[in-house]
Symmetry: D2
Subunit: 379 residues, 4 copies
Amino acid sequence: MGMVGGGREALIGAVHRIAAQMDGQIELVCGAFSSTPQKSKLSGKDLYLEPERVYGTYRDMIQKEGKLPADERMDFVSIVTPNNMHYPVAMASLDGGFHVACDGPMTVNLDEAQNLERKIEATGKLFCLTHNCTGYPMVKEARDLVAKGRLGKIRRVVVEYPQDWLAERLEASGQKQASWRTDGRFAGVSGCIGDIGCHGHNLAEYITGLRITEVCADLNIFVNGRTLDDDGSVLLRLGDGAKGILWASQVAIGSENALSIRVYGDKGALEWKQEDPNSLIVRWLNKPADVRRTAGPGIGKSAASAARLPAGRTEGYIESFANIYKEFASAMAKAIDGKPVDDSKFDYPKVRDGIRGMFFIDTVVKSSASESKWLEVPE
Amino acid sequence: MGMVGGGREALIGAVHRIAAQMDGQIELVCGAFSSTPQKSKLSGKDLYLEPERVYGTYRDMIQKEGKLPADERMDFVSIVTPNNMHYPVAMASLDGGFHVACDGPMTVNLDEAQNLERKIEATGKLFCLTHNCTGYPMVKEARDLVAKGRLGKIRRVVVEYPQDWLAERLEASGQKQASWRTDGRFAGVSGCIGDIGCHGHNLAEYITGLRITEVCADLNIFVNGRTLDDDGSVLLRLGDGAKGILWASQVAIGSENALSIRVYGDKGALEWKQEDPNSLIVRWLNKPADVRRTAGPGIGKSAASAARLPAGRTEGYIESFANIYKEFASAMAKAIDGKPVDDSKFDYPKVRDGIRGMFFIDTVVKSSASESKWLEVPE
Amino acid sequence: MGMVGGGREALIGAVHRIAAQMDGQIELVCGAFSSTPQKSKLSGKDLYLEPERVYGTYRDMIQKEGKLPADERMDFVSIVTPNNMHYPVAMASLDGGFHVACDGPMTVNLDEAQNLERKIEATGKLFCLTHNCTGYPMVKEARDLVAKGRLGKIRRVVVEYPQDWLAERLEASGQKQASWRTDGRFAGVSGCIGDIGCHGHNLAEYITGLRITEVCADLNIFVNGRTLDDDGSVLLRLGDGAKGILWASQVAIGSENALSIRVYGDKGALEWKQEDPNSLIVRWLNKPADVRRTAGPGIGKSAASAARLPAGRTEGYIESFANIYKEFASAMAKAIDGKPVDDSKFDYPKVRDGIRGMFFIDTVVKSSASESKWLEVPE
Amino acid sequence: MGMVGGGREALIGAVHRIAAQMDGQIELVCGAFSSTPQKSKLSGKDLYLEPERVYGTYRDMIQKEGKLPADERMDFVSIVTPNNMHYPVAMASLDGGFHVACDGPMTVNLDEAQNLERKIEATGKLFCLTHNCTGYPMVKEARDLVAKGRLGKIRRVVVEYPQDWLAERLEASGQKQASWRTDGRFAGVSGCIGDIGCHGHNLAEYITGLRITEVCADLNIFVNGRTLDDDGSVLLRLGDGAKGILWASQVAIGSENALSIRVYGDKGALEWKQEDPNSLIVRWLNKPADVRRTAGPGIGKSAASAARLPAGRTEGYIESFANIYKEFASAMAKAIDGKPVDDSKFDYPKVRDGIRGMFFIDTVVKSSASESKWLEVPE
């Protein structure tokens, strides 16, 4: 693995490094950690990388790694830069012959997203969108229960993602994360929905197996001086007659990282919370609710194999990324062995999920500006 | 107190009787408990009433009680019939010179609601809408915190009321509650929003002190064969730039009576759940959340005086009604003493709250049928 | 019902009055509410009793009520005085031909308790010890699960009752409740164990159906100036090889009224908390835990019939007393009808439970003072 | 880092490897992963180690690594074998000039523990006992609150560690973990108390800063065929007049890994649960409880610096080990730089904690067998 972005100050870089290496299949061998070459060097030193494999720019990294022997060079590029750099780095990496793991949202606009999809097809390389929420064992259990029909026909989805880190005008203090995430040049057309609402979209579609087909949105800017939404609520129509609500906010005081989902069918319902990720409450029509637990009794194969520890040893945020990387590593291992890879057999988010997310973000922004009630989300 | 409705099979009648009499200010002295006189008699006997004060019809009750000496006759009528009877019984009671307590929703349409308001003004009698949710001590604490500005400027409200008792077609079995609540002739223009969504509306306005001014609604009929909504979600605009979401459902499997509300301001936030009514979580921008408790330390006067028991002795649904009746009894006591009563000094829902609820229900139904995004809620 | 004690300042009197009358079988008709006749009169007036049936002393009440016609006089005496008066009032009431409901602990010492038992046998009157914790529907569900063998052979019980109302020296302020409960003349040989530990004992025996046969206790006085224990922990041996822990405290800051119990068998386990009384968590060896709810699906007959409201309408402390009174009223109704009553068929605590509680308190106090590890609890 | 034990089947080895390497200060360079050399080789291969640094025995590892240049050889040995091997490996490692990290319990008896302490003193090497529970940020917050006097004088500690993995006779199936942990030859004098009760001991002393000075214990063997305790409860006396209860069980059905602690002082109280490790509930005498969160507002320096991620990104079991290793790595870094190290400045468990744990286990076993009530825990 070579990393682009994720230098000293960047939390998410560390998360990806720990997660990717957690299961021993992936090793960080090189990186271009900052747009400032000097900072990149320092970050690489922190990480005990060989100095000659700490690059000043991603272009440099792709070029030079490409010249190394196949068993030495990096196998894929992990992109953890601000959103606006996802696209150029991914395109260059694919062109350079490398697989790509990319933090979400995939790109800052739809054009980029669609170009990227074409490039992936053209190069035949693998692409992983590191939306971590589908990596939690109990999210996999939720999906399995729906897929097996245990909840019956799905009626309603309620998905929320409140945070509070932008409750005040943090970007005015120069805090780097806040600065680029509230700036359309780096973040794209949306702030809150683009940054976290899209995780809600991904989670809802992953668990229900349904597509969000229409939206009716109301985005808000609650903190003065912002130009991008910092909160928004969306009515959803999903396939097969299901309805939903999605609410995301970066200004909801006291909310840390409170992604949650509830899904109601005509036979049962389920509830999952990212901040208590190892429990899944499953409710039934005529019997008491049960509480499934990561690595606990009675859970399906998919959830069971995503747990690393015996029940009661809390697995968290990093492990959810690790599960994404583990699946991606398995797909890459097959590709590296020269075998044909059907990526639909591997349980990690792919370019199509990213494009769906971009369509969602785009349509939500348009809907919020529109007087019409419902806008269709293009496929 | 004389009661109309609330015979043997009707749960809500028993709740009102226990609640009204809990504090010793109110006594049930007569009733017309059923539209079938014989059933009314039996119910009255169950309740150890004097047989001659168990009436076959509400008209009979109003007339005969009116002829009793002032210190003997009932002081007010408590109406716990199906929705469609609220209006005629209330009108007749007021005309008969009695104060009125009436279960929600107040009437089945707006015309009735507005006529009722005029009648109340004309007769000078007191009217209490027994929406119980504002009777919980921790709801009063929530309102106080907002009123004192502790949460700052309100940004967002999330109010939910999922139930599951109509998840299947219970009305087909002849169950009485289900039958009239799913039938427009008895329930009015809306099923779910009319029955429980209006409590969410009442709770949100009570706590925030803001008015819900515009709605964008999507109502659903999930169970085949129904003609009224059994689920619905609504985007809200409130006064002063606040936004909201209201979701109500009678088909959300595993939800018992799960009214809840979260309110987010720019200084703090709060969360309350009817099924855990004695806790109020209050969240802050730069310090840990705190958990206030019924009769616990640090709560305001309004909440403290609404608690009957020392902390940790669970107070519940019945006590919330008792608090409404207690306030209403205090207002009536003043009126009975011949003093002028400013009902705004007493903390119980009044006809204006009922009218606001009717406007809300009506506008939500219209919005759901409309292609326009936002509809204004008339005042 | 005639009440002894429970005047204006006494919370527990109001709880008993509301609870006893909740289901319409019992009516308060007279009382001797205070040891000060003038106070008794005022309390009776508050309660709208006929002035001539508000008595200055319990002796007066028993004598005069005894002379009233059978269909007019009170049927039983409810004793809600400080502990030291339970015995004389109960004895006099039984002698006067009345059934008795008595707040716990039953008496201040074992001699009294045993005399009382003999008196009950001699008079043939019914006696109810109003330990409320066994009145909760989910406690009944717990007992049923154990009785049906669903948990298998019981291994371990963990019962706790922390409170904090005596965390400081409240009695020094003259607060009445604190004054008599910390004074051996009124409270008996123990403070904390006598007041609340005995509820833990009762709850553990009720749910498990096992007897606590041996104890090893360590009582504490944490607040300076006290002479009775305000905290204590006890190792328990129960019948059939089960082990247990009981901890009670009146000085555990932040604990309101936190009676809870966990029972572990070799097939399953359960957990119940008085402050969240409508949920019962049941855990299993090889499947997920389930959460049973008052009036919810899947619960047994005993629990179901103890619920008054549909699921999700919180029932609390008062309803738990009401369930005790309801069972007692059913037994009394049979007795009043002149039928023989086998009180073991009715689900309320009886004199034998009270005696067992007294033996427990007594043995715990002795154990705490002893260097020997285990003391047997006499039967 | 060189590892002894922790081969393919051993969960705890993987936990240590991920944890130790999480912060980039430590790298696994060699190992002797199994008592079967061939298995050790395979494990080393899984881990991509250089084959010549995968050793067949720990003796071999210590000897050969000792001959490597200082900047190449391992700096310390991490011991994750069954309990009975802790002592010989630790002694040999220290003799070989290496620092040592050792899983708990430290040794199988007190003699070994005391010899080990002498050896550490003699060699001047650093020793870390990897009791992970003190690595959680909210445990550090708890300790800080006590140390700052925020809870006042400590009155009572309630510490529990129920699990259920030995609820049936798992060792009969040949499961390796169960086999050695229930066998006195490998586990020492105690099963449950030795394996997990000692964590409760460590946690209680760490948070309160008090010593457990006397115990009164009742150990049980609930599963037929065992020779070591699988459950036990202990009354505790701590320094400064505090009292406590410790309960540990490996047969408490439905309990996963439910270490928890509550500490009550005369000004406040706190509650922490390992299965919800990122919350700390703090209760106060005259104000509402607050809920502190890992990386949340209002927490002290010690807790804040132990968090890796922003609030709401669940940190769990592995991170708790990582925090222990991070502190140990800091101490070792200083030692490797040739500076004098005062290990009391570093926040990880040391040999003295291990010895205290051994004294505790030993005294509890003796107490359980004794008719005397209290036994003193030697220092």
